[in-house]
Assembly symmetry: none
Homo-oligomer: 402 residues x 2
């Protein structure tokens, strides 16, 4: 099928679309059990919604592919996650709202601790606090210099994480990552992976050498490790592609950053799921597309805490009437990927989805859960097509062909 | 997957394949209801057939994409509907059996009424009768002239619709449509959408100017509006691609035209579904592929008449024994797209399908309906793959690879 066909058919109207995304929603049963986190959760409101919706399963990137948060969210918003594979450096830059330009190469820094022989003894520098991070970044900014018309910027993120930006002409991203992935190893050299990247690799060698000297007297953050080299590229916005005036309600920097890359407005961060729903309600008249991101489903999954993930889903369920009370034309409830607590990580399993709209053809799903959704009217489809379905049900797509 | 792979594997044999297409078959329940038109209809014969068939749901063009009749039928016959997107002008030309050549640019004309200031006051010229249409076309043919080696032909279609053909070298189709879409507006100028189309655009400006003068004294059809500019292109025929000697049994011009474009023979038009079945039986020994097109399911859907659409489906059901009595090797019953009566228009919802053949792997579907088909053995698949499945079940595809 043709993921970009919808761009040519999109029209504007007054309809409202809500994407309620529970990060890492999909799950697995505990060993010997039969019910996933979602199936275990008591979700009367989601179940009632599922009855009126068309349900299915979404594959974020492909069968068996475990997606990172970047590709998973690109797919949710109708952007081919492979063709638009987004580098970690850009995700970090977007997360701190760094003003990127077409000449920028963005790199994620992890501060690390090396011993006197240069061996990495802590790959996260003991998770230094944010204040130390900011101080160390300033120090690097003040002392690291390149003399080849390339500007160097060190931007603090949080804990052991920072962003390195090179701004110049002809920079290449095909450079080896320097994190050895294990302790008691030397950092890897930032060598060129293709010949054309050799001039850029030389700049990174220079930066790493200078940084080692500048950070020599630091107790913990005395070395930098580089990963996720990414040349900035501009993505066509949700507005340009689909004519949607979009608001992201998300509190974690990375998701705010992705939304910003795709041209969404970003609501003020909040400190609870309930506060996100309030933000949705407060902003409801001003936008026509709402991306509401619930992070703790993923966090508790990553923690390996099955019961805590169940509780987060139940909390979201209690808030559903506040969302449906807005009477959106299209309400989608799904995740960006699966994070089964028993795996304590992202996984490749497809994600349950429900799409509620007046034009839904009923299926026989009566509960919102993985097995029920596998019998739903949407079938099992690539996640990248979800946006087209949402636009269709919002009557925002014209007929194709005569 | 690879929609054209089947071309390389197709072989001939003595098998017979019937595609019984109920136009706009897929539907939706009435508000508050649970059953679609097809699910409401009493269809004992189709249900018995579904029990012996493999069932599923077909997406004509893509998830969320509402197809026009052209793309939907291309997809049914195994032609990628996006790569082969067919212009309205060609569809009109095919519908009246206009003998198209490689040098032709075909355009749909709508006759319109303009007031003394040139503002469009009726975009369909009060739906003039066919006799007036023919008279006005003759008048244009007699008086409109181009002096640049380009031939101009005006062909009557019906009511307010006609076909304009330019025959010449280097004609381009990238021209703005001139229908302002609203009344009390001036017609849009047929300007070039790309620089290379400027010479062709100048021809259309000349034609529009001359037509305005020629039609000056007409009461209603005193202006022409142009849309659906399409350069003729030849499509590989069903015979060339799949070795099928095909007959189309369809009474509406557009469907006869599409079948003709794909190289099918066309049966005499009939005035009832029963007469189409008789035509199928009369011609059964002479062909190996039969496209039998039932229009009223779509027409009643477009009318918004749920009960009338149900009745058409029930009428088709009573005729099924006459079709199965022919003992075709493969019998496919489906639609080209959905036309839910509650929407009174084409829609993007997938279309139920049954495929009956001796080599069907049974599924658990016991009734022919949308929800039942969603549980069928075919799953939910792109419509463009239906032809390959039909050929396979007719033993007309060789093994791929050693």
């Amino acid at each position: 099928m043709h993921p970009e066909l919808i761009d040519t058919l999109a029209i504007k109207n007054k309809s409202k679309i809500i994407f309620l995304i529970m990060d890492g929603l999909g799950g697995l049963p505990k060993p010997g059990g039969h019910e996933t986190e979602l199936e275990t959760a008591r979700t009367p409101h989601l179940d009632a919604l599922a009855k009126k919706s068309v349900c299915g399963l979404l594959d974020p990137v492909g069968y068996g592919i475990t997606p990172g948060s970047g590709p998973a969210h690109f797919s949710l918003f109708g952007y081919d996650p492979v063709k638009n594979n987004i580098g970690r450096g850009i995700l970090e830059g977007a997360g701190i709202d760094f003003p990127m330009t077409d000449r920028d190469l963005l790199v994620r820094i992890n501060f690390a601790t090396v011993d006197k022989n240069g061996l990495v003894v802590d790959r996260r520098a003991g998770r230094i606090d944010n204040e130390t991070n900011r101080r160390v970044c300033r120090k690097l900014q003040d002392h690291v210099r390149l003399d080849k018309g390339v500007e160097v910027m060190f931007e603090s993120v949080r804990e052991h994480r920072a962003l390195l930006v090179l701004r110049g002409d002809g920079l290449r991203e095909e450079i080896a990552e320097t994190d050895p992935q294990k302790t008691n190893m030397l950092p890897i050299s930032p060598r060129a992976l293709i010949p054309a990247a050799e001039p850029t690799a030389a700049l990174f060698s220079e930066i790493v050498d200078q940084a080692r000297k500048v950070l020599f007297d630091e107790a913990r953050a005395n070395m930098i490790l580089l990963r996720g080299y990414a040349r900035y590229r501009r993505y066509p916005s949700i507005e340009e592609r689909f004519g949607l005036n979009a608001l992201a309600i998300a509190s974690y920097p990375m998701y705010r950053g992705i939304a910003r890359l795709l041209g969404m407005d970003i609501a003020m961060p909040t400190d609870s799921i309930r506060a996100e729903v309030d933000s949705l309600r407060d902003n409801y008249t001003k936008y026509d597309f709402f991306f509401m991101h619930v992070k703790p489903t993923d966090s508790r999954g990553e923690d390996g805490n099955f019961e805590a993930k169940v509780k987060v889903i139940e909390e979201v369920d209690t808030l559903i009437p506040l969302v449906t009370g807005l009477k959106p034309d299209v309400l989608v409830v799904t995740g960006d990927h699966s994070t089964p607590a028993v795996m304590a990580s992202h996984s490749w399993h497809p994600v349950p989805v429900l799409l509620a709209a007046e034009t839904c053809r009923p299926d026989r799903v009566e509960r919102f859960g993985e097995r029920d959704c596998s019998q739903g009217g949407l079938g099992r489809i690539p996640m990248v097509y979800l946006m087209g379905l949402a636009l269709a049900h919002a009557k925002r797509l014209e007929k194709f062909g005569a």
